[in-house]
Homo-oligomer: 121 residues x 2
DNA sequence: GCTTGACGACTACAGCTGTAATCGATAGCA
DNA sequence: TGCTATCGATTACAGCTGTAGTCGTCAAGC
């Protein structure tokens, strides 16, 4: 059962995937670009705890937060949802789409060629 | 400005991308698997009209609905959002992820190899 | 010791989403 | 011509999301 993480919640997760454990204040500080009130950050942390994708340990009177799911796990779930929703559950058409949409540079293609070669070996 | 389409709304769009124009009743009939009340289908159609992704023409006392955006356009936008959100805006890491996550079968890899070869030519 | 500031818990509220119900007009059948 | 089934328009309502504000407590400085 892959827990859904919303857009704003994801920003918080990214901070903690990059560095953990952190206090709520630390997280807020590292979300400078978003310019949220620290109240808002607290709300996000609370919701993420409720969803089970964050853990917290007591540190005196406050909490230290850290991810309870790995980024790769979340990413995999999200990609799978996209593939299921829009490409009939098959990855190959998505790759074809990326290629056709000019989403792949020459360098990407070279890299991809090497990757394919390796996987087929 | 790519209009967001929710999960349930997408089901309605898929019906109309597959065959249009259709009446509300037709759409409801083709959503059998979802088993929605036709009220619900009407709500979806109304919201999709408001979002500008559907058009309707009058047909006597009722409407005939058809898409105002192509499926490929919507898919491209959605894929781009995913790539931006989780892969730093670069498509190659997504492809690598798909490969590593065993999302690609042997047949997919063969197909992909041919595709890469063609694109690099 | 008393005050103030930090912290977590709880509450708020509007917009979106899923899932409908109700209302008013009308078209077709009896 | 009057009743009923149908259609679109409007309204409902709970849960999620973005974005906070309020409250009670406790710790640290004065």
């Amino acid at each position: 059962m892959p827990e859904r993480i919303s857009e704003a919640e994801l920003a918080v997760m990214e901070v903690l995937w990059a560095d953990a454990p952190l206090t709520a204040a630390d997280v807020a500080a590292r979300l400078g670009a978003r310019d949220w009130s620290d109240r808002t950050v607290k709300t996000m942390l609370g919701r993420l705890l409720a969803k089970g994708v964050l853990r917290h340990d007591e540190d005196g009177r406050r909490y230290l937060y850290r991810p309870a799911v790995e980024r790769a796990t979340y990413v995999a779930g999200d990609v799978r949802r996209l593939v299921d929703r829009l490409f009939g559950g098959r990855a190959a058409p998505l790759v074809a789409h990326l290629a056709e949409a000019n989403g792949l540079s020459d360098a990407d293609l070279a890299e991809l060629e090497a990757l394919v070669k390796e996987l087929r070996a």
